[in-house]
C-alpha cells in the first residue's frame, strides 16, 4: 500500500538521519585510529625521553641501566640495511625488469609471478628458519652479519619486485617505442630510458621495503643475533645485534628502567624509520612533479 506524503517524508528523514549517523560513526572510528597512534607515540615518548641523550646513543649495552646504550645495535642495524640494500636492490630490480620488459607472457612468467605474490605473504619467521638452515648451517656463514643480510634480503625481495614492477609499468610505452624506432636494442632502451624514468618510483619502493625490514626481529633471532654484544662489527662475517633485538631484550626484563630504555631505543628506531619514509615521500613528490 503506498504511503501518504507525510509518512513518506518522515521515512525519508529517518533514512537521512541514519545516513548522517553512519557518516559520523565512520569518521569517529577513523579518527580514533589517529588518536591511537598519538597515544602510542606519546606513551613511548614520555617513557623513553629522559634516557635519550648522546650517552645513550654512544654506549654499549650494560647491566646498569644508567650506563646502557644502543650503540652496537644501531651500528648493527646500519650495517644490515647497507648489506641488504646492496644485495636486494640489484636482484629485485633485475627481476622486475625481466618480468616487465624481457619475459614473454608465457607459463614461466606466470609461475614466477604467482611465486612472488605468495612469497610476499610468507611469515617472516619462516624466512628465519630458511636463513638458519641455508646460510648459517649449509653455507657455514655462522651467525654473522652476512647471514642476517641474506635472510632479510630474501624477505623483502618480493616487496621490492612488486613495487619496482609497478614503477616500471607506469613508464609510457611511447618512450620505449621511440627508442626502438631509432634502432636501440631492448637492453639499450631499458638501461637508457625505462630505468631512469622509473628510477624514482623504484627508489621509493626500495626505501619503504628497507624500512620495513629494519623492524623485523623474528628472522634475526632465528639467525642468532647475540644477546650481549659490546663491540661494533668490523666486517660482514662478524656477529652482531640489531635495534629490534636490543629493544626486545630490554622489554623482556622486568625492571622498570629497562622498559624505559626500550622506549628510548624505540624512539631512535622510529626516528630512523621516519627519515627513511620522509626520503621516500620526498623522492615520490619530486618525481610526480617532474613527470608532469
Amino acid at each position: 500500500m503506498p504511503l501518504t506524503t507525510e509518512q513518506e517524508s518522515r521515512h525519508l528523514e529517518k533514512r537521512h538521519r541514519k545516513a548522517r549517523i553512519f557518516a559520523i560513526f565512520c569518521a569517529a572510528i577513523t579518527w580514533s585510529s589517529v588518536l591511537l597512534l598519538a597515544v602510542l607515540l606519546y606513551q613511548v615518548s614520555i617513557e623513553g625521553f629522559r634516557w635519550l641523550d648522546w650517552q645513550f646513543i654512544s654506549s654499549f649495552p650494560s647491566r646498569f641501566p644508567e650506563r646502557a646504550g644502543i650503540k652496537s645495535a644501531l651500528v648493527g642495524t646500519i650495517w644490515l640495511i647497507s648489506l641488504v640494500a646492496l644485495i636486494s636492490i640489484p636482484v629485485g630490480v633485475s627481476t622486475a625488469l625481466y618480468l616487465e620488459e624481457f619475459a614473454g607472457k608465457g607459463k614461466i612468467s606466470k609461475i614466477i609471478e604467482v611465486n612472488i605474490a605468495n612469497l610476499a605473504g610468507v611469515p617472516s619467521i619462516v624466512y628465519g628458519i630458511l636463513g638458519l638452515a641455508i646460510f648459517v648451517r649449509f653455507f657455514a656463514l655462522e651467525r654473522s652479519l652476512i647471514s642476517g643480510a641474506l635472510t632479510m634480503s630474501l624477505l623483502i625481495l618480493p616487496v621490492i619486485i612488486i613495487a619496482s614492477r609497478e614503477a616500471i609499468k607506469t613508464v609510457p610505452q611511447g618512450i620505449r617505442n621511440a627508442a626502438y624506432s631509432l634502432g636501440a636494442t631492448k637492453w639499450q632502451t631499458t638501461w637508457a630510458h625505462v630505468l631512469p624514468a622509473s628510477f624514482p618510483g623504484i627508489m621509493t619502493g626500495v626505501i619503504l621495503a628497507l624500512s620495513r625490514s629494519i623492524g623485523e626481529t623474528a628472522p634475526l633471532i632465528m639467525i642468532g643475533a647475540m644477546t650481549f654484544v659490546a663491540f661494533l662489527p668490523e666486517g660482514p662475517m662478524d656477529s652482531f645485534t640489531a635495534m629490534p633485538i636490543q629493544i626486545y631484550n630490554w622489554v623482556s626484563r622486568p625492571q622498570e628502567e629497562f622498559h624505559e630504555l626500550a622506549a628510548a631505543g624505540i624512539i631512535v628506531l622510529l626516528a630512523v624509520l621516519l627519515v627513511m619514509n620522509a626520503t621516500a615521500i620526498f623522492i615520490r613528490n619530486r618525481t610526480e612533479r617532474r613527470m608532469k
Binding site: 627481476t95 625481466y98 605468495n118 611469515p123 631492448k186 623492524g215 624505540i266
Partner: protein
C-alpha cells in the same frame, strides 16, 4: 641507408649478413644483450629457488618428524609438551592459540578498517585524506616489537583496571595489538577497492534518491566486495604470521582454555621459543620446529592463494 639505420629490422628480414649486422656482432652488442638477459632471468629464478628451498626444507624435516610421531597424534592431540618427559605432540593448543589471537585481531581490525575505508573513500575531504593516509601508513610501518612493548606497558595495565583477573601474559592484549597492526592493511586495501568503483554507479544510486548510507552499503561495498574481502584475508594471514608482539604479550604457555585472560602460545611464538633455546640438529624436539613451521606456512599459503584468486576475479570485472 635504411639498413644501417635499422639494423635489427635488417637482421630480421635479410637472410644474408648485411654490413651493419656484422659490425654489431663484432662490437659485441648482441652478446651483451644475451648476457644481460641471462643475468636478469637468473635473478628471477631466485624467487622460484626460494620457494622451492622453503618447501623442500620444511617438508623434509617434517617427514622425518612424522617418522617418530604419528600424524594423528600431531593433528588431533590436545597436549603439547614436546620438550618434556613424557613428551606429547598434539599441536592443537598451538593452533588454538593462533586462532584466538587471530580471531580477536580480526574482530578489531576488520570492522574498524572497513569503516575507515568507507570514510576515506566516501566522506572524507582531500585535506582529511592527506592527514589520515599518512597516519595509516605510519601505523603500518611501526615495527612489531614496538607493538609488543605497547601491549606490555600500556594495553595490559589498562586491561587490568577493567578486568582485575587478567594475567600479566594474556591473549586479549595480544589480539588487541595485532588488530591495531593489521588495521591499516584492511583500511588501505579496502579504500583502494572502493575508490575503484566507478563514480557512475554511485551517481546512479543518488539519482534514484538513495541516502549515502544506502549507496555505500548497497552499491559501493558490494561492487568492491572482492577487493574488500581480499584485504580481510590478507590481514588475517598477516595476523597468523605475527610473532614478536604475540610472544611478548601472550607469554608461552600452550593452553586450550576459552578465556582470553590467560597466557597462550601461538605457533609462531613456539618456533621462537625453541630457537632461542636452540635445540640443535637432529632429535624430535628440533623437528617439531619444522612440523609447526610447515603447518604455519601451509595455512598462510592457502589463505594467500584464495585472496589472490578473489583479487583476480575483481580485476576482470573492471577491465
Amino acid at each position: 641507408m635504411a639498413q644501417e639505420q635499422y639494423p635489427d629490422a635488417a637482421l630480421a628480414s635479410q637472410p644474408a649478413e648485411p654490413r651493419a649486422a656484422r659490425s654489431i656482432k663484432k662490437s659485441g652488442v648482441l652478446w651483451g644483450e644475451f648476457a644481460i638477459k641471462s643475468w636478469l632471468a637468473s635473478c628471477s629464478f631466485i624467487s622460484i629457488v626460494t620457494t622451492a628451498a622453503i618447501v623442500i626444507l620444511l617438508l623434509s624435516e617434517t617427514l622425518n618428524f612424522f617418522e617418530s610421531v604419528s600424524p594423528r597424534e600431531f593433528f588431533f592431540g590436545t597436549t603439547w609438551t614436546p620438550l618434556f618427559e613424557p613428551s606429547s605432540f598434539g599441536v592443537l593448543p598451538l593452533v588454538w592459540g593462533t586462532l584466538i589471537v587471530t580471531i580477536g585481531a580480526a574482530l578489531i581490525a576488520i570492522p574498524t578498517g572497513l569503516a575507515s575505508a568507507i570514510y576515506l573513500s566516501e566522506y572524507a575531504s582531500d585535506r582529511m585524506r592527506s592527514i589520515i593516509k599518512p597516519v595509516l601508513e605510519l601505523l603500518a610501518g611501526i615495527p612489531t616489537v614496538v607493538y609488543g612493548y605497547f601491549a606490555l606497558t600500556f594495553v595490559t595495565p589498562v586491561l587490568r583496571n577493567v578486568f582485575p583477573d587478567i594475567q600479566v601474559f594474556n591473549a586479549l592484549s595480544a589480539a588487541i595489538v595485532v588488530g591495531i597492526m593489521v588495521l591499516p592493511m584492511v583500511a588501505t586495501m579496502s579504500d583502494n577497492a572502493l575508490r575503484a568503483v566507478p563514480v557512475s554507479l554511485r551517481q546512479g544510486a543518488y539519482a534514484l534518491g538513495a541516502t549515502s548510507y544506502e549507496v555505500t552499503t548497497r552499491v559501493v561495498v558490494p561492487a568492491g566486495l572482492s577487493g574488500v574481502m581480499a584485504s580481510f584475508l590478507l590481514a588475517i594471514s598477516r595476523a597468523i604470521g605475527e610473532t614478536m608482539a604475540v610472544t611478548l604479550a601472550a607469554g608461552q604457555t600452550p593452553n586450550m582454555s576459552l578465556t582470553m585472560f590467560e597466557s597462550i602460545q601461538t605457533m609462531t611464538s613456539y618456533i621462537v621459543q625453541v630457537s632461542l633455546g636452540d635445540t640443535p640438529s637432529g632429535g624430535v624436539a628440533y623437528q617439531t620446529l619444522f612440523a609447526v613451521a610447515t603447518l604455519l606456512f601451509a595455512i598462510t599459503l592457502v589463505i594467500n592463494i584464495i585472496s589472490q584468486m578473489i583479487l583476480n576475479r575483481f580485476r576482470e570485472v573492471y577491465e
